[in-house]
């Protein structure tokens, strides 16, 4: 099932070094690239069907097309390496194991959109990763792939790494821009959208690391080669980080569209210790949970996930076995989003803290059925009333646990905190 496009150099020792990467194909797209018109690059990316790999899945080439023409202002590219969604670690693999694929992708995108100053916004917690990335950038400068004349062409491109200070919300694209500008990382109201008014008030494209790293393959092999993988509307391959209660957790590159159950069974070795499946978080903690019945029918692509009233998300698949206490899981989930709420909008700022306290009341055996009803109602009251979708990233999954595993919450409300079962492990 596994394919090697993004992960082609993952297993090669020292592929983060430019010599090794070049021996294995890095930067070989550039001749093709600079022979193309800028518009053709955008058309090729549109035709490839590549969709944003940050989680929202917006078509990458279409996004580039939103840039206004001839504004007289510089165009910026901000690469989102703030990978903060719990259970997501795909970009980290690219940053550490194949940073030159990212840099090559940045050259492709920058050429296509006419950008000469690109930023990589990397999460603050990636301390060792940022060193590897910076080393790769330094090497690319030394070898003439970045700087005043990219690969000897009349094209300047500078890449600056900007480290975040550890805020989930800075992965939201406008908060990311605020953070680069040196301000407190808080999302901006949209419109205007970043393609029109972005970094320093200029047109800006923000793309995820994996989206950018997918570009060299598309330009080298053409849109059809990329479309050969995946489904009609979910094209190409994706890095899936499979974690949780499976025998073989890890990072797997798979074409989109594979049945989730089969992937868990054959790629990840199935639910561990012979236990039964309780649920699957399909694409990072903010995606609504799937029950075993849903897992049996869903496939790993945007459309099937939407049809199952969840989201494809970031490729961070978490498998939950029968021992998982969903009330505790929800407590953990809300605690994270509450902690990460930027505190700007009233519903998110005040509401997530309230939800957290209600769940903790339930866990302490002091909650009532009315509390569960209130918790469910708060999900509706908070969601989509805010500047960004951070609140929805909390309320959407919480609602799914409340609706699909209601009995577990009611057990806490009616019977109090349950006895520890034998199966539960620390």
């Amino acid at each position: 099932m596994e394919v090697k496009i993004l992960s082609a150099r993952f297993d090669i020792e020292n592929a983060n070094r430019i010599d090794v990467a070049r021996q294995h194909g890095a930067y070989q797209t550039l001749d093709t690239l600079f022979a193309m018109e800028q518009a053709d690059v955008i058309e090729t990316v549109k035709a490839s069907g590549l969709r944003g790999r940050g989680g929202a899945g917006f078509p990458t080439g279409v996004k580039w097309g939103f840039l206004p023409k001839d504004t007289g202002k510089p165009v910026y590219l901000a690469v989102n390496a703030d990978e903060s969604e719990p259970a997501t670690f795909k970009d980290r693999y690219i940053l550490v194991r194949d940073p030159h694929a990212l840099i090559e992708g940045i050259i492709i995108c920058s050429y296509a959109i006419g950008c000469h100053d690109s930023y990589i916004y990397i999460r603050g917690e990636y301390t060792s990763q940022v060193k590897i990335l910076q080393q790769a950038i330094d090497e690319a400068y030394a070898e003439g792939y970045l700087g005043d004349r990219v690969a000897g062409r009349n094209f300047r491109l500078d890449v600056t790494v900007h480290r975040g200070a550890g805020a989930y919300v800075c992965g939201e694209e406008t908060a990311l821009l605020e953070s680069i500008e040196g301000k407190k990382g808080q999302p901006r109201s949209k419109p205007p959208f970043p393609a029109v008014v972005g970094l320093f008030g200029c047109p800006t494209i923000i793309n995820n690391v994996q989206s950018i790293a997918s570009l060299p393959f598309i330009i080298t092999n053409g849109a059809d080669a990329y479309k050969a993988y995946g489904t009609e509307k979910s094209c190409g391959t994706h890095l899936f980080g499979i974690s949780g209660h499976v025998e073989k957790p890890g990072m797997y590159e798979l074409p989109l569209g594979l049945p989730l159950a089969e992937v868990i069974e054959t790629v990840a070795g199935g639910v561990w210790k012979g236990r039964r499946l309780k649920g699957v978080i399909p694409g990072g903690s903010s995606t609504p949970v799937l029950t075993p019945d849903e897992v049996a029918t869903v496939t790993l692509d945007y459309e099937s996930m939407a049809a199952h009233k969840t989201m494809f998300g970031s490729g961070g698949i978490v498998v939950l076995d029968e021992t998982v206490d969903m009330v505790k899981l929800v407590e953990n989930l809300i605690a994270f989003y509450h902690h990460e709420s930027c505190g700007q909008c009233t519903p998110c700022r005040e509401g997530l803290g309230w939800m957290l306290k209600i769940v903790r009341r339930l866990l302490a055996g002091e909650g009532t059925v009315a509390d569960i009803k209130l918790l469910r109602e708060l999900c509706d009251n908070i969601e989509m009333k805010t500047v960004c979708v951070l609140s929805a990233a909390c309320t959407m999954p919480v609602r799914s646990y409340l609706d699909k595993f209601r009995d577990e919450f009611e057990a806490y409300a009616i019977d109090g905190a349950p006895e520890q079962t034998e199966l539960r492990e620390g």
Partner: protein, 520 residues
């Protein structure tokens, strides 16, 4: 005239100014959209989410009104169960961690949270868990006291220090429900407009050290007035109250919006100048240091005036056009030299490029309009020559600089018509108390030639006379403001077509003698 557009609110067609955001545009036609963070002086921030309105067939269907410009044909939904529920939900979330300590909160009675609770919420609390606790009674400097628990994080105060004063002392630190407004450690508010923060705070989070716990706001009578702290003429509210068995006392000044003059704000010095109206007042009539009834004082003054061979009359640059006219008339009557010398009112370098002027006189432009000589040399010469000085409330020692006149002043017999007990007046053999600006009405012209009119606000027990009344008692023909205007119109070209009762509330700019007219 601004361009107008027609749009629909709850299905009803309204015509509003194009391009304005929905909050401002609809407010003009009497439709309120609730909001905490939006303030016309500070722009839209969009954090409170209270102004979310529905747009029928809109994409998105739910928008913050503060960030949505009025567009033709737009179908705005307010009276809609979905929108009303959102307003209830936002109010619930604003209130869950609010202490609801209204009985001890200074903002009670003029609190947006209170008002909106009555208008948009009226639901019982469902909060059955521990509230978030934050710091209280934080001294932010400049007389601003902050209560983090009452704060709704609308960031108006933060934006004020960034956009208006550009001093940036305030910020919001921490995230989620731990977010709070604070200062940098050891770096308190340090600007001359800080108390505006108290005005713009929609809740009781920012209180004035000077005002807090002194009066419940619903007892205050809130009369419009004009600050006399300098020549800018900022519009204010004079909030005053007469306690049972007490006198009419001013408790505070607040900024009153006048986009032509002061915008939405006033300076702190002006705001706190209300104290001068309450304190150190000259309420007694004195003749040779002995308190007498006013009639006796007037008799003594008349006696001096009638006997004086070379009287000199000194007017104050704070006096209204009407007062100045009345004094000018009796100066003519008694053949007195008239001076408006008042250099002491100018504090060179004290002003800024915003609202504070160097010149602390409220009506210097009026003095000039009436062509009253204000030179020092002419005043000093007239003083040396005079055998009687009648000083109409001009504080010659408002600031240092007139010490050289001391000798001549001591050598001259003086009648002081004054509102306050100050060294400049105390040497007079006859002291006649007069009203101060919160106790009379009239017209003044500010530094930018804006003619503004104000009315009497306060009625103190002592009830001192308006200067105009004093001039009448001294034999003048002008007995009130209205009777001053025919003369003003006739003799001052710039005022020739002004009818004071028709001056708009925002004032009128006096351009040239021909063009300026109101209500014609």
């Amino acid at each position: 005239m601004a361009e107008m557009v027609k749009l629909f609110v709850n299905g009803q067609e309204v015509e509003v100014e194009a391009g304005k955001n929905l909050i401002d545009a609809l407010q003009v036609v009497g439709i309120e959209i609730p909001h905490f963070c939006y303030h016309p002086a500070l722009g839209a921030d969009g954090n409170c989410r209270m102004c979310l309105v529905g747009i029928e067939d809109g994409r998105p269907p739910l928008v913050p009104a503060c960030k949505t410009p009025a567009q033709p044909g737009m179908k705005v939904l307010l009276e809609d169960e979905k929108i009303k529920k959102i307003q209830r939900d936002i109010m619930e979330l604003e209130l869950i961690n609010h202490p609801v300590d209204c009985p001890v909160c200074d903002q009670a009675g003029e609190c947006t949270l209170q008002d909106y609770y009555m208008s948009y919420s009226q639901q019982d609390s469902r909060m059955n868990v521990e509230q978030v606790h934050k710091d209280k009674r934080l001294d932010f400097g400049c007389g601003v006291v902050h209560d983090q628990e009452r704060c709704v994080l609308c960031a108006r105060c933060v934006r004020f220090t960034r956009q208006i004063t550009k001093t940036g002392e305030l910020g919001i630190v921490n995230r989620s429900d731990q977010a709070r407004v604070t200062i940098f450690p050891g770096r308190p508010l340090a600007n001359r407009y800080a108390l505006n923060i108290v005005d713009i705070c929609p809740v009781g989070a920012m209180t004035s050290k000077d005002f807090r716990f002194r009066q419940r706001v619903w007892f205050l009578q809130k009369d419009p007035g004009i600050c006399h702290g300098c020549s800018t003429g900022c519009n204010i509210y004079i909030d005053h109250h007469r306690e049972k068995y007490g006198d009419d006392v001013i408790y505070r000044f607040r900024a009153r919006t006048n986009l032509q003059v002061n915008g939405y704000f006033i300076c702190d010095a002006g705001r706190l100048s209300y104290k001068t109206e309450n304190e150190n007042r000259q309420d007694r009539t004195l003749v040779d240091g002995v308190e007498v009834p006013l009639e006796r004082g007037i008799e003594a003054a008349l006696d001096k005036l009638n006997r004086a061979r070379k009287p000199l009359m000194l007017v104050s640059p704070d006096s209204t056009l009407e007062q100045l006219w009345a004094i000018k008339r009796i100066a003519t009557l008694y053949g007195a030299v008239l001076s408006g010398y008042s250099d002491a009112y100018v504090l060179a370098g004290d002003g800024d490029d915003y609202l504070i002027s160097d010149d602390k006189a409220a009506n210097r432009a009026g003095l000039q309009l009436l062509d009253i000589d204000s030179g020092k040399e002419s005043f000093a010469a007239a003083l040396a020559d005079a055998d009687l000085l009648v000083n109409f409330n001009n504080d010659l020692f408002f600031s240092p600089g007139n010490e050289d006149l001391q000798e001549a002043l001591e050598a001259t017999d003086q009648v002081s018509v004054c509102s306050h007990d100050r060294p400049a007046f105390s040497r007079a053999t006859v002291i006649l108390p007069c009203a101060s600006y919160s106790e009379y009405g009239g017209s003044i012209v500010n530094r930018n030639n804006v003619l503004q009119r104000f009315a009497r606000a306060v009625c103190r027990d002592a009830d001192p006379c308006d200067i105009i009344e004093i001039t009448r008692l001294l034999g003048g023909a002008i007995s009130d403001n209205a009777r001053a205007w025919p003369g003003l119109r006739q003799s001052v070209p710039a005022l020739s077509r002004i009818w004071p009762e028709r001056i708009p509330v925002e004032g009128v700019t006096l351009n040239s003698s021909e063009e300026t007219h109101v209500g014609a």
